[in-house]
């Protein structure tokens, strides 16, 4: 191959049958690092300097030769050194699925209940703004005794609270194809550990007046996003958060500070929060009239549907996985905006019988809850599905029940049971209802 001349003479003492690297730059590094085992002091020095760039953070060039690196015996090569900010293994490539205005969490590629910050779903209406934290300000005014402006540093001085909960977009329902992953069907839900200050703490600081019943939350993005929120939610459990999974919020999650309304539709947790105005009525913004309202029965349009009803989805085995006969651990997530998940039931016979799945504790309020169900598959064609039951006794409906109750085939707050068809050859497909996506 063309890069042969550039290779040093010193080869690994016991060369493994290394596949010829495709990239000349990488190949040189590989061979150099291999040369370390030849143990000439000079080469060690040289290689130390040159091995370093093989750190995965040099991503783009290292990505293709993953197989080459894999072909090297890692016990015979000095590995990469420490780095300032770590990243995923170069063999792992979970990715959000992006559209122009949103991206979806790869639910089927995740473990446990926390969504890595870089995989949290996105939905924005005017792109991601760049906000200098030193210039950031949050104004609170309207029906308050003392209108105040808080800097980011001010917000961080208040007593802090950390809580784990999900955020789900209320437009989180897609269907219509057999070849759909959990990510495509319902990837607009993610979970983080959030840290910030309780909105009730801030309410006391500004002195919210008793006559105030609603507040406007406004973002500092190009959409200048606005939602009206009942003041009661502010006293109950709303937060202004500045941290996610142990570090500052990601820009696409509202850096440097966002509202967090546990259990409520994602759009209300206004990102890049710049203003809160207390008032005695809702503001009827575009996002709570033209959007984020849904057609329900008798031709009505339902408004202020804040709470996310209970939902679950099997994340394994799902399209495009192919399974084999024998023991299969069915895995998935369940959550409810009204409190804790009480129970998740799994059916492996197309919905004829249901058995309680095992829940991973501790089960948290308004949080993604992991469920598991051990299934000994004999190879017959069948449909598998899960349904969530929350602590209010709400049972996640199937598609037909929900469509009939709403007189609607989709749209916001559509949370039907997701069914998976397991073919006798082990292929798994989404058993999609014939619905249109109205959202």
């Amino acid at each position: 191959m063309e890069d042969k001349e550039t290779m040093p003479d010193a080869l690994p003492a016991k060369p493994e049958p290394v596949k010829q690297p495709e990239s000349p730059r990488i190949s040189r590094r590989l061979w150099l690092s291999g040369a370390v085992t030849a143990a000439t002091v000079m080469l060690v020095r040289q290689s130390v300097g040159k091995v370093a760039p093989v750190v995965p953070s040099a991503a783009p060039e290292v990505m293709t030769p993953a197989t080459d690196l894999a072909a090297v015996d890692p016990t015979k090569v000095i590995g990469a050194g420490p780095s300032g900010y770590g990243t995923t293994s170069l063999f792992e490539k979970p990715e959000r699925l992006t559209s122009l205005t949103s991206s979806r969490t790869p639910l089927q590629n995740l473990y446990g209940s926390i969504t890595p910050s870089g995989l949290h779903f996105e939905r924005h209406h005017g792109g991601i703004p760049v906000i200098d934290p030193d210039k950031y300000e949050l104004l609170i005014h309207g029906m308050v005794d003392r209108p105040l402006v808080f800097s980011l540093a001010d917000l961080k001085k208040f007593p802090s609270v950390t809580r784990t909960c999900f955020i789900e977009c209320s437009g989180n329902y897609r269907s219509g194809k057999a070849e759909m992953t959990p990510q495509e069907i319902c990837g607009l839900t993610s979970q983080s550990e959030w840290t910030g200050v309780l909105l009730s703490t801030i309410f006391k600081e500004v002195g919210v007046q008793p006559a105030a019943t609603w507040f406007l939350a406004e973002g500092g993005d190009a959409a200048v996003m606005t939602r009206s929120i009942p003041v009661s939610k502010g006293w109950e459990d709303a937060m202004i958060v500045y941290a996610q999974n142990g570090e500052a919020l990601r820009p696409e999650q509202g850096y440097p500070a966002r509202l967090l309304l546990p259990g409520w539709e994602g759009n209300t947790s206004v990102k890049w929060l710049r203003r809160i105005k207390l008032s005695d009525a809702p503001f009827m913004t575009r996002e709570e009239t033209s959007k984020y309202t849904e057609k329900v029965k008798d031709g009505k349009i339902r408004q202020f549907s804040f709470v996310m009803d209970a939902r679950s989805i099997i994340t394994f085995p799902t399209y495009p996985v192919k399974v084999q006969k024998g023991w299969i651990e069915i895995r998935g997530l369940a959550w409810s905006g009204r409190g804790k998940i009480e129970r998740v039931e799994v059916s492996v016979d197309g919905g004829q019988s249901w058995t309680a799945a095992e829940l991973q504790g501790p089960v948290l309020d308004k949080a993604h809850t992991v469920f598991r169900y051990l299934w000994n598959w004999k190879g017959e064609e069948t449909r598998i599905m899960s349904r969530a039951v929350d602590e209010t006794g709400y049972v996640q409906p199937d598609y037909e029940t929900l469509a009939a109750a709403r007189e609607s085939k989709g749209g916001y707050h559509f949370n039907p049971i997701t069914k998976w068809l397991v073919k006798n050859n082990g292929e798994v497909f989404h058993d999609s209802p014939k619905s249109d996506d109205l959202s």
Partner: protein, 193 residues
């Protein structure tokens, strides 16, 4: 009085004294900061100018609307220049518009537009002023927003050609879809709604 009852009396007195000392010690040693204050004194007072600069919202009863008058014909001119490329002219097109159709010349059953879906006319003013045109948000003058609001109400057949749109008349417009709006009545439990 026998000896043992005197002794008992002493014991009770000592026990009582001990309890009193314990309570006093607890009160003394307790962290005086344990009570969370109602106010921390963080943040700065927001002056009137600062509030005015950000206070751009408009409410259905007209609170927040600046003074101004909208002219339908002026609105059409601005719409043609700054909006039609993304929102169309109300005719059917065989590609996806970058922005939603805001009105349709031939009503189609499913199309959600200002005329068929929006419950308040003030929302048009508030939204266009804060977020449109998409490629230059916040670039329109209040006067331009009034013209556009008037034009969009007219194009949706909500108002006739001679209507004067201003800060007094805009909140009084009754939108066709208003009557269809209901407030969420889901409350968990066994009901599916």
């Amino acid at each position: 009085m026998d000896k043992s009852s005197v002794f008992k009396g002493y014991l009770i007195a000592i026990a009582a004294l001990g309890a009193a000392i314990a309570i006093a010690l607890y009160a003394f040693l307790r962290d005086p900061q344990e009570e969370t204050p109602d106010k921390f004194g963080f943040g700065k007072v927001a002056g009137a100018d600062r509030i005015k600069a950000l206070d751009i919202d408009v409410m259905p009863d007209g609170r927040g609307l600046p003074a101004g008058t909208g002219d339908i014909r002026q609105g059409l001119i601005i719409y043609t220049e700054k909006c039609v490329s993304c929102h169309g002219n109300g005719e059917k097109v065989d590609y996806k518009l970058p922005g939603d159709a805001l009105f349709v010349n031939q009503p189609a059953k499913k199309t959600k537009t200002i005329g068929t879906y929006w419950p308040y006319a003030t929302t048009i003013f508030d939204y266009i002023r804060r977020a449109m045109p998409y490629n230059a948000p916040g670039s329109l003058s209040d006067q331009e927003v009034y013209h556009l609001t008037a034009y969009l109400l007219y194009a949706n057949k909500v108002i006739p050609a001679n209507t004067v749109i201003n800060e007094h008349s805009l909140p009084k417009i009754v939108m066709p879809a208003k009557k269809n709006y209901v407030v969420d009545d889901r409350e968990g439990g066994s009901d599916i709604r």
